[in-house]
């Protein structure tokens, strides 16, 4: 029963998200797109986090997806749609190759290496003048759907839906058992037959493909990119803050965090330019100090406590 109710709520929310453009103008739709992009990145970051690996490489794979898509159009003459598919596969392939090196690292060493990745990709794009356009970046001949705001909203929403579906699959399938076991205790996981490297590689490649997908959609929607935009550290930091605020190790937590922080940031941008960055910093500090499980974790604990009390009440 409970399961059915939550599926129904999800379906209603999805329908609401799909018909939203009927009620909104171009500017709010742009804001919505930005929030959805960050939301997808936050969810994808969390998917890998469920295995205990803290990645700071979101912006790296996002930017890689952007450039793969843009350059596939410019240098190989692909159609925008094909270039998005190409970017997803390319990000996956790069992650697969890199995974063999970096997934042997743990904790801080893994995090720092993924942070370095972002910088390495950025520097490569910065310096390959003839191929990547160098620091000035690249301009596409045309924007997807001629820049029609509603269409761009829907393609971004499609990317988000793919991410959410993947995340729910991670939660419902045996991947949930494997990744949680790896996060909790690798030795114990191995003794139960979990091939740790295999499941880390699956999670890393899948989340990298999702991040590449969002990057590709982004570049095709704006029609241009440059190294400092594609590999902007905000694409790492904001999803992280959103997931932490909303509640990690879940799909719904990072989504809620993205809506809250995304809307707050838009509002703050108008009130105090750049002030939203200070607020982000404060939120990360306060959440880590006082609410390490995030809003979703807090709600779950509260619900559980009241449920436990009710059970106790019945027993006594």
């Amino acid at each position: 029963m409970k399961l059915k109710a939550s599926w129904l709520a999800a379906a209603l929310l999805a329908v609401a998200a799909i018909i939203l453009p009927a009620f909104l103008g171009a500017y709010p739709l742009n804001v919505a797109r930005s929030i959805m992009t960050y939301m997808a990145l936050a969810v994808s970051w969390d998917m890998l986090l469920r295995s205990g690996q803290i990645s700071f490489g979101i912006a790296g794979l996002f930017g890689l997806g952007s450039y793969a898509s843009a350059l596939a159009v410019l240098r190989a003459g692909m159609s925008p749609a094909a270039s998005i598919v190409f970017a997803v596969l390319f990000a996956g392939l790069v992650a697969f190759g890199l995974g063999f090196a970096i997934l042997r690292l743990r904790a801080m060493y893994f995090s720092i290496t993924t942070l370095a990745l972002m910088e390495i990709f950025r520097i490569i794009m910065h310096n390959l003048h003839d191929f990547s356009g160098g620091p000035e970046g690249v301009v596409l001949p045309a924007i997807l759907f001629n820049g029609e705001a509603k269409a761009l909203y829907w393609i971004c929403l499609a990317g988000l839906f793919v991410t959410i579906a993947a995340s729910v699959y991670f939660e419902k399938s045996k991947l949930h058992l494997a990744l949680t076991a790896i996060r909790n205790d690798e030795i114990s996981a191995r003794t139960s037959g979990v091939n740790i490297f295999k499941y880390l590689l699956i999670a890393f490649v899948a989340t990298s493909m999702l991040q590449g997908l969002m990057g590709a959609i982004q570049v095709q929607s704006y029609g241009f990119t440059m190294p400092d935009t594609a590999f902007d550290a905000n694409f790492t930091l904001l999803p992280l803050a959103m997931a932490l605020l909303g509640g990690i190790h879940s799909t719904i937590g990072p989504m809620a965090g993205a809506v809250l922080l995304g809307v707050a940031a838009e509002w703050l941008k108008l009130k105090i330019p750049y002030g939203h960055l200070v607020v982000y910093g404060l939120i990360i500090i306060l959440v880590i100090l006082f609410m390490p499980k995030g809003l979703y974790g807090l709600a779950k604990d509260k619900f559980k406590k009241s449920h436990d009390n009710r059970v106790k009440g019945k027993l006594s």
Binding site: L177, T180, N184, A189, T191, S192
Partner: protein, 239 residues
């Protein structure tokens, strides 16, 4: 054919030889006691056999197949399972999920099959409240869960590393009965590491004694316990 054989198995930690040229074998359906004073290398030996540590030299065979350097997860699929002296519950999973993991990843069952297999194992061990977090379990329940997790691999060789430690005498008796039942019903070879000699006497048909990584005696408990080398290892040399 022996289920598990080691030949001249050694493990050195930069100079300290924790296991030294240990050769032994385990047969189907037997309960083998592994005893020795603290630091004798019992747990290191189980780490080597289960693939958590790799040996410095020597050989391990499982049903005639060389598994000396196979990764731990492959050995668990082949049929070697173990529990840990220092308990390793997976805190973010329920009791049932903890047990299911072995069925899913060692036996390749889907989630539904694994769930019913795990429920059956827990029922056999009289472990209930399977929806609970592991933090809510008593020590006896945790030990049972550890055994249930090992059994979910459907092993042919099972090592129990001090599963009786911390249990009171009633619980210990319950556990002894359970281990005997498991070994008999499933024709499993069970290796038991235990410090309580009463348990070893009651449970095992054969005992190996380790001291400073070496096998110093082997045989039925009654015989081994009278062996002067064993007494020296436990009580120290004659003054």
């Amino acid at each position: 054919m022996s289920k598990l054989v080691t030949r001249e198995l050694s493990k050195a930690f930069s100079g300290l030889v924790a296991v030294n040229k240990l050769s032994f074998s385990m047969e189907e359906g037997e309960i083998l006691g592994i005893i020795g004073p603290n630091g004798a290398g019992k747990t290191t030996f189980i780490h080597l056999v289960s693939g958590i540590l790799m040996p410095t030299s020597g050989q391990i065979e499982f049903k005639g197949k060389d598994i000396t350097f196979s990764p731990a997860h492959e050995r668990s699929r082949l049929g070697i399972a173990r529990t840990y002296q220092l308990i390793h519950p997976l805190e973010n999973l329920t009791v049932l999920e903890n047990v299911m993991i072995g069925s899913v990843f060692s036996r390749g069952k889907n989630l539904k099959e694994a769930r019913s297999a795990a429920e059956a194992i827990c029922a056999e061990l009289e472990l209930d409240g399977l929806g609970r977090d592991t933090s809510q379990l008593t020590i006896l329940e945790i030990k049972k869960m550890e055994i249930a997790r090992a059994l979910a691999n459907e092993p042919e060789v099972l090592f129990l590393d001090e599963v009786m430690a911390g249990l009171n005498s009633d619980e210990t008796r319950q556990m002894i009965g359970m281990v005997q039942r498991i070994a008999k019903e499933k024709r499993m070879a069970v290796g038991v590491v235990e410090h309580v000699m009463g348990v070893i006497r009651e449970l095992t048909q054969r005992v190996i004694v380790l001291d400073s990584g070496e096998l110093i005696a082997e045989g039925p408990y009654e015989e081994v316990s009278k062996n002067p080398r064993v007494m020296e290892a436990y009580l120290g040399g004659a003054a």
